[in-house]
């Protein structure tokens, strides 16, 4: 099923890439535009640091590390599944039905829907900031810390992907409520770009235990930077991101199946 899904995703995404290339000028424009739009968040942080030397006790390179990890993970998830927010619209206009008569997993088909390479802009700026941050932070790099970075990026992408899928499942029930999803995806990404010490403890607790976005960067970054995490966590929590990611994906998959089953029993 998974292999089938990846294959179908590749086929459909390829078609959309070719479609996008038919308007070449517009394509180039939107890639650059996407890079700029998504980079604005970091420009905001730079502007803040033109006025202060630290925020919540974290220095610019440290915050850049948070930003780079979150933006890269989110960028990957957005590249792969970012069009799930058009699902509600597809259900409303009936074109979702077309996907259900094809011999391919629906999630893969919806995920690849309107796939656009311009979203590489977001990943690119995330990787650039991450690269700078890794070079600029004052850290005693150990083998474990070095290895942790790529693992966290991949796990973070999986966690954000799970949020996208759960949001898609929610749209089955509230087809006009695609924007709620933005609060958790784009909102989550914005939240994670700032250090946890900035936020109230309750919010940090919620983001650690309920919607475990903290494992995208906060928890492992606190370990890499040897900073205390605002709420008590066991030492192994820094390495728990892959586990959390697997858990999130399983729950999101369940939610998606429930949503799809509900669609097929209630229709549009």
């Amino acid at each position: 099923m998974f292999v089938e899904g990846v294959r179908a995703y590749g086929l459909i995404a390829g078609m959309w890439v070719r479609s996008g290339m038919t308007y070449r000028a517009s394509f180039a424009f939107t890639v650059v535009g996407n890079l700029l739009v998504t980079g604005l968040d970091f420009v905001g942080i730079l502007l803040m640091f033109s006025q202060v030397d630290s925020l919540g006790g974290w220095s610019l390179p440290e915050i850049a590390l948070l930003y780079g990890l979150s933006a890269t993970s989110f960028g990957i998830a957005d590249l792969v599944l970012g069009s799930l927010d058009v699902l509600g619209g597809r259900m409303r206009d009936g074109s979702f039905d077309v996907l259900l008569v094809r011999p391919a997993p629906v999630l893969a088909q919806v995920g690849a829907d309107r796939f656009a390479l311009r979203r590489l802009g977001r990943v690119t700026q995330g990787v650039v900031v991450l690269g700078w941050a890794l070079a600029a932070v004052d850290v005693d790099w150990s083998a474990v810390k070095v290895l942790l970075v790529p693992v966290v990026v991949v796990s973070g992408a999986a966690i954000f992907s799970a949020v996208f899928v759960a949001g898609a499942a929610f749209q089955v029930f509230a087809q006009d409520a695609a924007e709620v999803q933005n609060a958790f995806t784009y909102g989550g990404n914005t939240l994670l770009q700032y250090p946890p010490s900035v936020f109230g403890k309750d919010l940090v607790r919620g983001v650690t235990f309920m919607l475990p976005l903290a494992f995208v960067n906060w928890v492992p970054a606190a370990y890499v930077l040897e900073r205390p995490y605002p709420i008590g966590l066991p030492g192994w929590a820094a390495f728990a991101s892959p586990l959390v990611a697997v858990g999130c994906c399983a729950l999101a998959g369940l939610a998606w199946r429930t949503g799809l089953r509900s669609y097929r029993s209630t229709g549009s």
């Binding site: 604005l40 905001g44 919540g56």
Partner: protein, 266 residues
């Protein structure tokens, strides 16, 4: 008089059209509230580090955040108001029909957009703002005159916001595709309006520039008027000057575009 009633009807139509998207509005309220919460904490940390940054105290910084969430959809700061529909009309060629209607094209779209803004303010903007004021100490005026001035500045802000987006939409007559310009609207709107950081907290030099651009009339000026940080008449004059300049530029571009359509034969 008859035409005033026409544009009023258009505005009411704009209001009602957006009022019919109830679930989407509720979703938007939720999202604006979440973003407000995140931003409030980051601003509080920033003002903790630099008390009095940009002339604001913490309560004022908090007020600024929630006002930003309140006006985000109201003023279509990242786009998505009347200009989106207008771009589509131009793209599909339907605009040729509009040009032959016995109405003023610019006023027509302005009326519709003001109606939309009215609904977005009441339906989508007020709730996050009230929510913020219940959870965090805010710097809100007690006297009615300040709120009246705020209402005037909001209306002017709506016209300036429309003026910017109308120009952008008309560019589709030449560009043929609205996606690129839409992205430019988004970047400039978010950054120069002060959604990322209040314009008065920008570093010198850059700050001096952004504070005189038209986008400053959208969020920074209304915020300053509300919190008594600006000379009210000076603020009105600034907004009105940009409103007039943008609308005039819009007229110029509109007549150039009309000639273009006529020459091409629609």
């Amino acid at each position: 008089m008859g035409s005033a009633r026409l544009y009023l009807a258009v505005a009411v139509g704009g209001f009602r059209r957006y009022a019919s998207y109830r679930v989407a509005t509720a979703a938007g309220v939720f999202t604006n509230t979440v973003f407000g919460l995140i931003l409030v904490y980051t601003y509080l940390a920033l003002w903790e580090e630099r008390p009095g940054l940009g002339g604001y105290d913490q309560a004022q910084a908090v007020t600024y955040v929630w006002l930003g969430q309140c006006l985000y959809a109201t003023l279509a700061i990242q786009g998505g108001g009347a200009e989106k529909d207008l771009m589509e009309r131009i793209g599909t060629g339907g605009i040729a029909v509009d040009l032959y209607r016995p109405v003023d094209l610019q006023l027509w779209w302005l009326a519709g957009d003001v109606g939309r803004a009215g609904f977005q303010l009441l339906g989508r903007g007020v709730v996050p703002f009230v929510f913020g004021s219940l959870l965090f100490p805010m710097a809100l005026p007690a006297e009615a005159a300040a709120w009246a001035a705020f209402a005037v500045t909001l209306l002017l802000a709506a016209v300036v916001s429309f003026g910017i987006r109308y120009l952008a939409a008309l560019s589709v007559f030449w560009l043929m595709d609205g996606r690129g310009i839409g992205q430019v609207l988004m970047i400039t709107g978010v950054f120069f309006s002060g959604m990322v950081l209040p314009l008065n907290a920008f570093p010198d030099g850059l700050g001096d520039v952004v504070r005189v651009l038209p986008w400053a009339a959208q969020l920074q000026v209304p915020a300053d008027v509300l919190m008594g940080e600006a000379d009210v008449w000076g603020a009105f004059a600034f907004q009105a000057a940009w409103a007039v300049a943008l609308l005039a530029a819009g007229r110029l571009l509109q007549s150039a575009a009309t000639r273009r359509v006529v020459v091409q034969g629609g």
